[in-house]
Symmetry: C2
Subunit: 234 residues, 2 copies
DNA sequence: CGGGCGATTGAGACATATCAACCTTAGTGG
DNA sequence: CCACTAAGGTTGATATGTCTCAATCGCCCG
């Protein structure tokens, strides 16, 4: 990982609304800026952290994309989270010693380094920060629950596409065309299904005009139909 | 729900180590006791909360057991959590308006009523409480992740049995015999599999002498073998 | 131009769901 | 005390969805 000259400025960051610096007091943002002093560049394919690494710092995605993955009970890589700009890696690990997962950059990525001991020391004075962390963890739990309710392949593909597209829409000016930053293989690994099954479901969605996608670029997508397929409209 | 005469006493509670009042300062425990003033009795089969209920209060199980469930994409009940004494229902909802799930008592159950607005008002002065909430949410996220890594029926049954038995062992003096407070049907619903499949896996475990269970009572259980089946020992 | 990765497609194997039946037990009321 | 009932548990046969294996294609990149 290379350190950039760039000095992080939470108060003017392009994804401050998404990141944990949203809804903080001016005072708290200033505190954060004194704690978060480094941005590092991570090459595509390079790891940001490995399982069992000590949790000395956590990371916020500044630009790029990364995936969290673990080994399942058969030793295969299962993707457990995609991190987009503004997302925080390891926020749920404030009280843990070791990383329980690996995170690797899918494309060239810049991450803000957040020193965890300093944050914990200052946390008494960061009341809104506390609330914000709570909200983010809360959202994570609720989001996971949603994924777990979908059992069949079609619903699961639908819920993942919804998840990714909605998150991208928070970040880009135009809804379409939209470049998916993850491959079909990675999406299938996120859902714990084979890439062949994922591909066949996607083909079906294309035939049904639910999504118009080619070479990883979404040209159009019927979010309502997708929600229906996912079984969310009941 | 009936209100009991019993007044909650966090400082002397039999499950304080498990509940969110663990590791608090004496001062904080006293604050908690002024906020948590009610214990209610919930009959077997009676709901503690319904989906879309406003989050005005959350609950801690004092005695008994309850299950959280949601409707999956096919409209079937999927159990998303079992709550044992000391567990808190809705801790991840401090910043939410509505309950996203239903919770129903599996047996006669007593719950402590935790008024959420008061907690939020006092949260500034409850620093250790904040940390404890963080830790519990953190554990919940990590625990869910573990469940998601298991794909095949055998591993999933194993991980659930481990989860339930370990949690019971935190609460009872003798390891065996151990009465499982949940039915096979409920356990299969927790895993999103059919009760027939669950039953067949359980039969296999009995044949392999991994677990000795009859009529919901565990007479013995080889936790190491169970962990191996779950694929946790790699 | 070659190599490799991601995407695509088909055929067959396998695990789990579904359907149907029956058993066991605890609880209920006569 | 027994007959009845309902709920949970057990078992077998079959259906179905997804995985696995294998092959091919297209495209980007060196």
């Amino acid at each position: 990982m290379k350190t950039m000259n760039l000095r992080p400025r939470c108060s003017t960051c392009h994804v401050k609304k998404i990141c944990f610096n949203n809804a903080l007091t001016t005072e708290e943002q200033i505190t954060l800026e004194t704690l978060i002093t480094e941005i590092k560049l991570v090459a595509k394919g390079e790891h940001i952290c490995f399982a069992n690494d000590p949790v000395k710092r956590i990371y916020a995605i500044f630009t790029g994309i990364a995936k969290e993955y673990r080994l399942d009970n058969r030793g295969r890589e299962l993707v457990t989270e995609f991190y987009l700009p503004g997302n925080v890696i390891g926020l749920e690990l404030l009280n843990k010693n070791k990383y329980p997962f690996n995170v690797v950059a899918i494309k060239e990525t810049a991450v803000c380094i957040i020193p965890i001991e300093e944050i914990k020391k200052d946390i008494v004075n960061l009341q809104f920060f506390n609330n914000r962390v709570l909200a983010l963890l809360s959202d994570k739990i609720e989001n996971n629950a949603k994924f777990n309710l979908m059992t069949d392949a079609k619903s699961r593909v639908a819920i993942l596409l919804l998840n990714i597209i909605e998150r991208l829409h928070q970040r880009v000016p135009n809804p379409y065309p939209l470049e998916l930053p993850v491959s079909q293989v990675e999406m299938s690994q996120r859902l714990g299904m084979s890439n062949e099954t994922f591909n066949r479901v996607l083909r079906k969605f294309k035939q049904d005009n639910i999504i118009n996608i080619r070479k990883g670029i979404v040209f159009n997508c019927d979010m309502i139909a997708l929600r229906k397929v996912a079984g969310l409209s009941r």
